[in-house]
Symmetry: C2
Subunit: 569 residues, 2 copies
Amino acid sequence: MKSELKHRITVARGLQKADLVLKGGSLVNVFSGEIYRTDIAISGGKIAGLGKYDGSKVIDLSSKFILPGFIDSHVHIESSMLTPAEFARAALPYGTTAVIADPHEIANVLGKAGIRYMLSASEGLPLDFYFMLPSCVPTTSLETSGAHLTAADLLPFLKQRRVLGLAEMMNYPGVLLGKPDVLRKLNAFSHTMIDGHAPGLSGNDLSAYAGAGISSDHECTTADEARRKVRHGMTVFVREGSAAKDLEALLPAVTQANARFFTLATDDFQPGDLKRGSIDQLVKKAVRLGLDPIIAVQMATINTAQHFGLQHKGAVLPGYDADMVVVDDLKNFTVEKVFKFGKLVAEGGKCIASVKSKDHEQTRGTIRTGPIKIKDILLKAKTNRARVIELIPNQIETKCSTMPVTVQGGHVLSDTEKDVLKLLVIERHQFTGNRGFGLIKGLGLKAGALAATVAHDSHNIITAGITDEDILLAVSRVQKIQGGLVVANNGKVMAEIPLPIAGLMSDKSLAFVVKRLAEIDAAVKRLGVTIVHPFGILSFMALPVIPELKLTDRGLVDVKQFKLVDLFV
Amino acid sequence: MKSELKHRITVARGLQKADLVLKGGSLVNVFSGEIYRTDIAISGGKIAGLGKYDGSKVIDLSSKFILPGFIDSHVHIESSMLTPAEFARAALPYGTTAVIADPHEIANVLGKAGIRYMLSASEGLPLDFYFMLPSCVPTTSLETSGAHLTAADLLPFLKQRRVLGLAEMMNYPGVLLGKPDVLRKLNAFSHTMIDGHAPGLSGNDLSAYAGAGISSDHECTTADEARRKVRHGMTVFVREGSAAKDLEALLPAVTQANARFFTLATDDFQPGDLKRGSIDQLVKKAVRLGLDPIIAVQMATINTAQHFGLQHKGAVLPGYDADMVVVDDLKNFTVEKVFKFGKLVAEGGKCIASVKSKDHEQTRGTIRTGPIKIKDILLKAKTNRARVIELIPNQIETKCSTMPVTVQGGHVLSDTEKDVLKLLVIERHQFTGNRGFGLIKGLGLKAGALAATVAHDSHNIITAGITDEDILLAVSRVQKIQGGLVVANNGKVMAEIPLPIAGLMSDKSLAFVVKRLAEIDAAVKRLGVTIVHPFGILSFMALPVIPELKLTDRGLVDVKQFKLVDLFV
């Protein structure tokens, strides 16, 4: 360490050759807000100097631009269905060299062990994984998750260098009502960063929420909301994920005077989107929409580093980690080269770094149900009128409708005519045997069944289908492959992707995951479904914080009343 | 703590009355970069909310502006000659509610005990004292100081909440040459903030210095130098002290794009200046010179807080400490009220907070010399030609001249005709008996003698005078009062200020110190001196890092050659 510093000083002074010198390119200097030509000298993984340099190795970057490596200020790795290693392999070619991850999904399945896995699986990779600790596990009291994390559970993780604080405090009603468990967490983490999640909050309630020490928000959907939150001292993470896309709406709020308090985040980026890009897509889109490229780059780099206190990150400047992105242009650019700690890790869209996956044995075996038989999934009709979860096109909010149901032999059946299907959530963490029954309208499935272990946020098994036999087959298959997504029809599995890591993530590559998901989409389409990514929609049907009607392993939830309600009326 | 948060949330939501509400004023919002009217609600010392509020107490601030409390990003408290408590009492009325202090002077006298004193004496005051640890004690190897502080000595202080890192690394040649003791310090503090001090550094050397992890500089004297340093990743502390005034020269470097990397600092503010103001003077001057008032306020508040990672400081926003300044205008303003943790601590230029001085017994008794007799201060003439320290008007740099000296009875005498006086530096830390003899031209003293224990950076006794008897009297008096400044003439003490705390600081109020200094200035003037603050000039004659010729207890130093040289030639 000491000799490394000494060597870097010698290199910086031009007395010894740098390990590597980038020549001829234009640096986007996120401190001075300028773009200019300079040599960039690298020594021991750090930027040694800007100016004129010789190197053992020289790369000519004439007509190129050099930016700091991108930092994603808020992401759930689990949404990529990839291990941290495979995520790194996928994101590096797009210039993302650091992420602030919230392992909320895996923590809902595996609790502390899930967080420990994410920490160990992301150690030593050529992409920096920082973590915020999941603040809301379980998300609600109306469902069964795999863990219950208290302030006392979370605090010890703070000793780890890469753990920065408390992740998105989604339970904003709990903050406003001063719930003891929420306050305990806020107090315990008051000396660290605490991320927020408070869609639409305004007025005095926004003061209360921000004033509780919550210093960011990534749920703004209008420029006014973003302005309001910055005015209340929050850094706004502009999110442009696979589902929620806020960039265009929020950009008008960004001014020269307040830009330092805006960053970029993907939040949830599905495998198909990750295949096409990462934070680079957000930077490009922002510039295309008219944002000053320097500000766009600052939002993707130094602003996040400064918000989270990441020393020596987010800038190509002496003493900073040599995490750099080379692009051909500042507008509609292509990431040509990516350097991490001064090493070329990606080029021409391909990861060329050695990325080693870690052991994930401890994340397997999370489908903890007893055997499930056909009688377990039969739905006895108490009346012939029921509450139905009605899908709203392109939204994860639903409507609560009541309608007559189709009954045969005393049991409720799916009805393809009315497009009202049986929906089940089967508890899979604690062998409780809990099963929640519901009905869903609008999925469009004409035959077969779907089953999945990705079902926010408790990630119990969710399944919908036409015949009980296919439902049972899909569920049994999900059990057998220890989690994943399965499409079954006519007694056969048509398509599937195993997600053995906590029932959430594959242990395979992005290419494998994308291929399998495409097969699944095709299979579901063949079964009559026209909506895009039906498994994505299905995964939110168990999330009882999004109105109006949702289903957990404990039953139907009227979200507005925040209580369990009867299926039958 | 927990119930405090709960209460603040309740207050923020408007369900309970705030402790205090400021109404009708315009807030300078350093996050959004806007100025607008809003109520400001305070609960438990923190900002609870912005918006519409009721309070148990309401203060009408119509037509006033509310700014965050000012933060001085770099100051040596010792230059004020005051204890931290008295410094707080003096600076609070001008809106300074936090300082980042470098106890370099007292550490040169008392080492770790000096740092400990500053920490304990500043604890619990209504002004936040943060500390950077002196990096260069002693300043050079050519003098005797009271301590030698290594990385191992300094590191344990990092455990203290208010210690933020390593103070100005003045030994930039040591950094560039990779000196082992310097590298040890830089490595030991690489995970903290390290302040810089590198006047004029540029090119590859600037890369080397910044790249060593040094992230600020307060020695820029031109806009180009400031631009250069920001381009190299340094935050520029714009210094406007009693002697060095850089604000006007540096402001042209500040742009909307880079302003966040500029802050304000006083560095060395003498008692007379502190009587007239603090950081408020810098803000005003910056605005007068044309800087956007919002940027000026950001430089005095949030920029410093963000640079040093001071959570919940530097903004009037929910959850932030309620440190606030009320002014009548944003241009040539007067600080009317100052709040610290929501309490009114100063009003109409007067400190009204309870400010308790701490015990400072451990800082006394630092004049550790044996008895000094007339024979000890006689200067035997080896030749009749000598090197003379020649003052340059209004500078602390000197010229090295050689000239004939006046000799009588084998001893060199002061010569008022030529204005060449005897100058002595007497070691006062370790009873070494070291005495350095020199000659100084340009002081203008016609009779009597001056002696002082403030003599940068080792703070040995420095004395100059006409007759050996008056020199001895002045020195003896300084010994007797355990440090201070003394003017003697004709066998009598004409004026003095005792500085019993390490020989550097008074234990009295600012008013007392200013009065005594005025008496001293008047006395020195009566003795023929026309230069302003001759004791100030004298205090730099022992600093062997400022060219060309200086005097330490070990003898004359040729600063450019950085070695001891003979007095006689």
